[in-house]
């Protein structure tokens, strides 16, 4: 190197005294970036990161957002082997409800006597409009002479009980109990159950549930932790009393996921950092140099966070999960530069360092053009991060790293490796070809994970508890709806009702209580036809049964007057249900939006798999403008949109990187030497993932971009035959530190973290091997030195 006049030696640079303003600028920049990063507003609001240009996805997101869904927490409780009475179980739930109230959880409003009385009154006043053909069939059976006699006998017995204060009077108005029957149907379809003091009792008499609404989002981790910690304390305390509590809902899943992530971070990060520090110390044998190697990465990280914070106002917290990958790219600059400076010669790294930066900048710049906010932010974050890292490695490190002029501590390992790769470069290329052929079939086994629940890091016990709960109680809250939006409420109701009939689905509480105008007309016509046909015979049979049972038919005058043909009557409207328990239900199902009346009718589905045939049927029948809003569909669509955008970005990144490399190198052989190894490494990575049947998530695909970035860095440095001997050690050092940082993630319990760690580890190792095997053959070997024997 000393013979090359263009090369500046490190001592020449370091000895040059930097003026005070030079240091001042760096200090100011570092302080500004650090303070901006620390003061950045981090957000866990996932909605801000989701794409907003996909009609399908957008309307589901808007729909769910308008309903403020996922803010329910239920505590299910039962006695452990009969050790506690049902009263003790319910009291324990009531006590827990009071305990959780200050933390933001409220028990559901319980219908009061007035609301129930109003409900019955509305039903009774609108019987001809509400009763459908099925209910008329039930009435028809009940008015047959024998059945009518039996029914009245039972009714008389009930009314005669001294402790019954209502039946005797109530039946005067509706002796056939058509109204209560309709109420029962409404109760069944609106999820009604025995309800007292906020506690719902299951018909089995054993299980109880305390449903609560929570006034903050589950993603508010601090409050969710406080809430769930209190719940878990109650779970343990009540277990001592023989009462089992089982929390159900999004808050438990968030609690599980976040605690799992924190636990994984605390478990893996210290080990990863220790391994990385060990590798770097082994490389430099100086703690000062280890610190210097990380200086560009730390500044780069601060720059990355600051860039997102300044451009978007807040930083999506999940992006920080990619900080390790960013650090992996950025630290490479520090390692290469520090190693070169320590060895007393850094001129030869300036060019590959610049190429590496330009390639990374092009790749992540292309990612920043994504229309998906999450990908755009990630691209922007990494682009700015690597820019700051490059500038600080290139211009700051030469002023802070002291040359040591020590021999390469890894040369006994890296030297022979390089000699083998250079001497038998065509055999190595052949080996790369063999590996490629062996792993390529794995690509055909690759599958994309579309079930977002499988990316969930909830504990198995949490999932089991949810499954058991769903089987016992049905859905905690409806997650699937038929939705229609029309300028006119009646048109929207009509659309929903028709879609239900087309799909062969039973009516929900909405269609039962609020039929569209045409359905009300049909009900009225059926009612009139029924009583026209059966009234005369019914009156005769009724009088006979009353005489036999010593009852007075005239006492039932109000009922008998009601069971008659009704020529006209006012239609039932949304306003009629004001002041009843259904008002709350309808407030979420019938909304007046800026696009008109939006009606959403809950689909009674216990398991997401039941939705699949309904969706297929809906597509087949083309029920538009009615559509199905479902959380499962949201997740599926989200994965589809991300996958599609990532595929487009991958093409853009490839083109951008290809052009950048071509412009920087202008030698077809070197271009190939820089691009082929990372491409082959990617093929190996996904081939291996396919062979081990690892399902791809958007996250694993995204980290592949980092693998490609580091792979190109690797190839860029090794594609210089004349400097390869002095670059091989830091290149291997870079990959070793990256692998040390990512391999520990394999021990993470959270499936996403584990998957990302696995992909990165396989990818990094593949990059190194592919670069070692291919670059000597493609870029040529160092002809300035004698090959090793």
């Amino acid at each position: 190197m000393a013979s090359d006049p263009a090369v500046l030696t490190t001592p020449d640079i370091v000895r040059r005294r930097r003026p005070w303003w030079w240091w001042t600028i760096w200090i100011v920049v570092a302080v500004v970036l650090g303070v901006t990063a620390v003061r950045a507003k981090f957000t866990t609001d996932l909605e801000q990161m989701l794409p907003n240009n996909d009609r399908d996805l957008n309307r589901i997101l808007t729909f769910l957002h308008e309903r403020g869904a996922s803010r329910l927490l239920a505590i299910e409780a039962w006695s452990d082997g009969g050790k506690a009475t049902p009263e003790q179980v319910t009291q324990a739930l009531v006590d827990l409800g009071a305990q959780l109230h200050p933390l933001g959880a409220q028990t559901l409003p319980q219908p009061g006597p007035d609301e129930i009385a109003k409900l019955l009154s509305v039903v009774e006043d609108h019987l001809p409009l509400l009763v459908d053909s099925q209910a008329l069939e039930v009435i028809h059976k009940r008015i047959q002479p024998t059945e009518l006699h039996d029914y009245l006998t039972a009714m008389k017995e009930r009314a005669s009980r001294p402790d019954d204060a209502l039946v005797g009077s109530f039946v005067r108005r509706d002796v056939l109990a058509i109204g209560p029957q309709e109420m029962l149907a409404l109760q069944k379809t609106s999820g009604g159950a025995s309800f007292a003091n906020g506690v719902v009792s299951h018909p089995d008499g054993v299980h109880f549930m305390l449903p609560m609404t929570v006034d903050f989002d589950p993603a508010d981790t601090h409050r969710t932790f406080l809430l769930m910690d209190t719940v878990w304390d109650a779970v343990h305390a009540n277990a001592q009393k023989g009462i089992i509590f089982e929390p159900i809902g999004a808050y438990r899943h968030f609690d599980d996921n976040m605690k799992s992530l924190y636990s994984d971070f605390f478990k893996t990060i210290p080990v990863g950092v220790a391994l990385i520090v060990l590798v770097l110390w082994s490389l430099s044998r100086s703690w000062g140099s280890v610190a210097a190697m990380y200086l560009p990465a730390l500044l780069g990280l601060a720059g990355a966070v600051s860039a997102v914070s300044i451009s978007q106002g807040q930083v999506p917290l999940p992006l920080i999960g990619f900080a390790a990958s960013l650090m992996g790219v950025a630290v490479d600059y520090g390692i290469q530069m520090t190693y070169a400076l320590r060895s007393g010669d850094y001129a030869h790294v300036r060019s590959p360092l610049l190429r590496s930066f330009v390639v990374s900048a092009c790749a992540f710049g292309a990612l920043a053009t994504s229309t998906v906010p999450a990908l755009h932010s990630l691209g922007l974050m990494v682009l700015c991060g690597v820019a700051v890292a490059y500038i600080s490695a290139r211009y700051l490190l030469p002023s802070v790293v002291t040359p040591a002029h020590r021999p390469d501590p890894w040369i006994h390992v890296t030297g022979p490796v390089l000699r083998i790769c250079e001497r038998w470069r065509w055999q190595c290329a052949g080996a790369a070809l063999v590996i490629t052929l062996a792993l390529a079939p794995g690509l055909w086994h690759l599958t994309f994970l579309s079930d977002i629940q499988r990316m969930d890091g909830s504990k198995q016990s949490t999932r089991d508890a949810l499954d058991t709960f769903l089987k016992r109680w049905g859905n905690l809250e409806p997650s699937n709806f038929l939705v229609d939006t029309q300028p006119n409420l009646d048109d929207a109701l009509s659309g929903i009702a028709k879609a239900r009939i087309q799909l062969g689905l039973p009516p929900s509480a909405l269609e039962r209580a609020l039929p569209d105008s045409a359905t009300q007309d049909a009900h009225l016509a059926a009612w009139n036809a029924f009583w026209s046909a059966h009234r005369a015979q019914f009156l005769t049979d009724f009088a006979t049964a009353c005489a036999d049972l010593h009852m007075r038919p005239q006492g039932f005058a109000a009922s008998l007057e009601k069971y008659d043909v009704v020529p006209t009557t006012d239609k039932i409207t949304l306003e009629d249900w004001q002041g009843t328990p259904l008002q709350t239900l309808f407030a979420t199902l019938v909304l007046q939006t800026d696009k008109g009346w939006q009606v959403s009718s809950p689909l009674d589905i216990a398991h997401p798999s039941e939705l699949v045939p309904i969706e297929a049927h809906a597509r087949e029948l083309s029920i538009e403008p009615v559509w199905i809003a479902s959380r499962a569909h949201l997740a599926k669509r989200l994965v589809e949109v991300l996958r599609s955008d990532l595929a487009r970005r991958a093409v853009a990144i490839t083109i951008a990187v290809g052009i950048a490399v071509a412009l920087l190198v202008r030698s077809p052989r070197k271009i190939l030497a820089m691009l082929l190894p990372p491409a082959i490494a990617m093929l190996w990575t996904f081939g291996i993932l396919g062979m081990i049947h690892a399902e791809l998530t958007p996250f694993t695909v995204l980290v592949a971009a980092f693998v490609g970035g580091i792979g190109i860095d690797c190839a860029v440095f090794l594609a210089q035959p004349e400097h390869r001997r002095s670059l091989i050690t830091p290149v291997i050092g870079c990959i070793a530190t990256a692998v040390a940082g990512t391999a520990v993630m394999l021990y993470a319990r959270h499936p996403l973290l584990c998957g990302v760690g696995g992909t990165l580890t396989i990818g990094m190792i593949s990059c190194l091997i592919a670069s070692l095997l291919l670059t000597p053959a493609l870029a040529g070997r160092d002809t300035t030195t004698t090959p090793a024997p």
Partner: protein
């Protein structure tokens, strides 16, 4: 329906619990006393009365029945235990004690009340009753003393919805205010349920076992 039953039982329990208090109160009342004055007498007299037993006859006059339905019964209250025993002779029995309600049918078979949290509000009200608190009744009803000063208190539901099922409840006391005499519940449409009370027995022995089972 349970709501109606709860209201009635709470009312009856309140009235019967007030009996001893009324006995202790000053009988020389002025005409048309205010509700507060009326209830103040009740509150003042509750002290020192530990047990009471009051037999009654229930008459149900239902428009749908040819005949009135008559049922004998007895109510026993032990304030020390915080317990009430309410029996319709030969028909059914309800016991409130240890903060919960249990019910037995005519055959002495216990019914599934303990598993029914619907009765929790009633339990709370019974609990309030044995502690002598009229507040729940005042919340649900407008209390109107007889304008002529007669020993009659009329309750009408505050809620218009409840009015569709219950027209009024009339509580009639003995002329000397020593005990409740009659309670009449009038349903919308004119059906009546009347409780005719006999002489209350104060300080009778009502051991804990009376409030355990039939």
């Amino acid at each position: 329906m349970k709501m109606m039953m709860m209201t009635m039982m709470m009312l009856l329990a309140q009235v019967l619990g007030s009996g001893p208090a009324l006995i202790a109160a000053d009988a020389g009342s002025s005409p048309a006393p205010s509700v507060d004055a009326f209830l103040a007498r009740v509150a003042a007299g509750e002290k020192g009365i530990a047990t009471v037993r009051i037999p009654f006859v229930q008459e149900k006059h239902l428009a749908i029945m040819d005949d009135a339905l008559l049922t004998d019964g007895v109510i026993e209250i032990n304030r020390t235990l915080g317990a009430v025993r309410w029996e319709f002779t030969g028909k059914s029995l309800m016991i409130f004690g240890h903060g919960k309600i249990r019910r037995w049918d005519a055959d002495g078979k216990q019914e599934s009340v303990p598993n029914d949290p619907n009765l929790k509000p009633f339990q709370d009200q019974m609990q309030a009753f044995v502690s002598g608190d009229w507040a729940p009744l005042e919340k649900a009803f407008v209390l109107t003393p007889d304008p002529t000063g007669a020993a009659i208190l009329t309750l009408t539901p505050r809620s218009p919805e409840l009015t569709k099922y219950l027209a009024s409840i009339e509580m009639r006391f003995r002329d000397d205010f020593t005990a409740p005499k009659q309670l009449t519940m009038v349903a919308a449409g004119g059906d009546e349920t009347i409780y005719k009370f006999q002489e209350p027995q104060l300080g009778v022995a009502l051991p804990a076992a009376r409030f355990e089972k039939p």
